[in-house]
């Protein structure tokens, strides 16, 4: 069993300015593997069946306002988030919660405390169109680092889970990622398949940067990647990289809940998440731009670092999000 000691605020008292005496710092023993199991059960038994039965049935949906008219939220997203939140609150009352539907811009922040970071339904457009790549993505950060990740796609019945130091499981079975990485060979830009998603912002400099970068990556004069794939779900893209189906995933505009679970899973397979822009080697979970790369047989990390640098040289412009 792998456990971590964390410094966390156990008291639920309001933190006043200067009210340091109200705080009880204590040491919590957190068994990550048991949290992983709990999240797996929640994803598979409670959330999955709802996603599966409701997929493709929501012809009525809200469109987010302004420039993001293709960003879809359904009533089901909100309901599922409430189910998850209620369940987690009961089991882990001291942990914080950040979810896509309850997020308030500028107010919701990720602290060092144990924090569940949750996307109830990742790939909402897929969900509405019944494209079988909508999933639930449940992550936990401690000290802002993703330490548990569970992703469940009920359409293909794929449950992939990990916790820090405990490796990766697929539908409960230990996943031999090393064997897969041997088959995949070295990590090289023009032998790789990259996940790319234009997202819902379709104007302005970020859109231009993405389109130019895609063209550079594909072009025979540029990265000349084997191909790109677009699954319309950040969590599924990260899961597929961890499984060795894809080599990397480059995106901007997503949020912590899109990547938190996948980030932990990917780390456990030797993969790495950096920023989408050049030289962003070390980024926080809410960075908004991400570049995820699979693990390779080269344990020194040189392979990976070269791949990342080579990829960045195809990025034309800078992705930036408020």
């Amino acid at each position: 069993m792998y456990t971590v000691q964390v410094e966390a605020v156990c008291s639920l008292k309001t933190l006043d300015k200067g009210g340091i005496d109200d705080l009880h710092y204590c040491t919590m023993t957190v068994d990550l593997r048991s949290i992983e199991n709990f999240l797996c059960s929640l994803a598979k038994n409670k959330v999955g069946p709802i996603i599966k039965t409701k997929s493709g049935t929501q012809s009525e949906y809200d469109l987010k306002t302004g420039s993001r008219q293709v960003d879809i939220v359904t009533e089901i997203d909100k309901q599922v988030e409430k189910i998850i939140w209620d369940t987690l609150k009961q089991e882990y009352p001291a942990f914080k919660f950040v979810g896509e539907e309850s997020y308030v811009k500028g107010v919701t922040v990720i602290t060092d405390d144990p924090t569940f970071i949750v996307d109830p339904i990742d790939g909402t457009t897929n969900f509405v169109h019944d494209f079988p790549f909508s999933c639930t993505s449940l992550g936990l950060t401690i000290n802002k680092v993703p330490v548990v990740g569970v992703i469940y796609n009920p359409h293909t019945d794929l449950l992939i889970s990990a916790s820090k130091g405990n490796g990766v499981r697929v539908n409960g079975e230990e996943y031999d990622y090393k064997k897969k990485q041997v088959q995949m060979g070295p990590l090289i830009i023009n032998k790789s398949i990259v996940a790319l998603q234009p997202g819902s912002a379709r104007e302005g400099t970020n859109f231009t940067t993405k389109m130019r970068t895609y063209e550079n990556l594909l072009s025979a004069d540029g990265g000349f990647v084997h191909g790109f794939r677009n699954l319309g779900s950040s969590a599924m893209s990260l899961a597929y990289i961890a499984l060795g189906y894809l080599d990397s995933y480059w995106d901007g505009g997503c949020y912590s809940w899109d990547v938190c679970a996948g980030w932990c899973i990917l780390n456990e397979t030797g993969g790495r998440v950096v920023g989408a822009n050049k030289d962003e080697w070390d980024v926080p979970v809410d960075n908004r731009t991400y570049f995820a790369v699979r693990g390779s047989c080269d344990d020194s990390g040189k392979d990976q670092a070269k791949y990342i640098s080579d990829f960045w040289s195809n990025v034309e412009g800078t992705l930036k999000y408020d």
Partner: protein, 292 residues
């Protein structure tokens, strides 16, 4: 030679059996295992593997045994400029569609076997063994996935609310007016808030799977240039049996042959007028004609 509806259904059944029992297990077992050794074809991106060739031979032998008078056109033995698709019954076969997926182990490689008579697709079977999805149809007999009839949801079809299958393809020579350039510019127009402003695009790297997903109504459409008769023949029949339509990828190409190279599949579940209007709105976003 024309074939009755029940003869077509029998042929469909024979292909389904061949796919499920012989071809599927091979594809599944060999996917993702040979990334480090593959032959180069037209360029670095288009990968052909030994498995591809072996599987084509197996399919050809079995179909010859069952239907000795039928012709056979397969991806691996096709000779550009020489191989023609005759009017007589002809099996048109892609042993492994989505070769790049196959090489990388991305679970969207499949086998695509179609039968054309008079240059029209009348039987189509596509099997993705990774996801255990076998799509099959024959003309007048409806379409099925794993023997379950496919029922396409009735939904209005509009460009702005659509999800479209789009691929980068293997042809990447980048110069103004090139096919690659037209594709990239068209994708930009489709996505842009000043253009089509579609809900999204998806890329799975397999033409046959993209057409099947369009047939099911999971995609609203799939637009492609550069693929071949064997990439589309099987899917075409499945699509039509689901109420979808296949036209050309370039403006005004309402009626195309099976080896047209530039295709545009549109889902059913809506009226023919909606399909027509969708096609015209989509074509308006293209920046030129794709030529192969």
């Amino acid at each position: 030679m024309s074939l009755s509806q029940s003869e077509l259904k029998q042929i469909e059944g024979a292909i389904v059996k061949l796919l499920r029992e012989e071809v599927g297990p091979k594809i599944k077992a060999e996917s993702g295992k040979y990334l480090t050794v593959y032959d180069d074809k037209a360029n670095q991106v288009d990968l052909v593997t030994k498995s591809d060739k072996n599987i084509e031979l197996i399919i050809k032998a079995r179909l010859k045994e069952l239907y000795p008078t039928f012709h056979f056109v397969g991806e691996e033995e096709y000779i550009p400029g020489e191989t023609k698709i005759p009017a007589e019954p002809t099996f048109i076969v892609d042993p492994i569609d989505g070769t790049t997926n196959f090489i990388h182990g991305f679970p969207y490689s499949c086998c695509s076997i179609g039968l054309a008579v008079g240059g029209k697709s009348v039987v189509g079977c596509v099997f993705n063994p990774h996801l255990d999805q076998l799509y099959h149809a024959s003309k007048g007999n409806g379409a099925f996935v794993n023997d379950e009839p496919i029922a396409v949801a009735k939904r209005p079809l509009t460009l702005q609310k659509s999800v479209v299958g789009l691929e980068g393809g293997a042809d990447r020579a980048d110069s103004p007016g090139s096919n690659f350039d037209i594709k990239m510019e068209t994708y930009k127009n489709l996505l842009s808030d000043k253009g089509g402003f579609v809900h999204g695009f998806r890329s799975l790297g397999s033409a046959a799977m993209n057409i099947c997903y369009t047939a099911l109504g999971i995609f609203d459409a799939y637009w492609e240039g550069g693929c071949w008769a064997w990439d589309v023949c099987a899917g075409w029949c499945i699509l039509e049996e689901c109420g979808g339509t296949m036209i050309g990828g370039n403006k005004g190409q309402w009626d195309i042959g099976i080896d047209h190279r530039v295709y545009f599949a549109i889902r059913g579940g809506c009226t023919a007028d909606e399909q027509k209007k969708f096609a015209e709105e989509f074509w308006a976003q293209t920046t030129g004609d794709l030529k192969y």
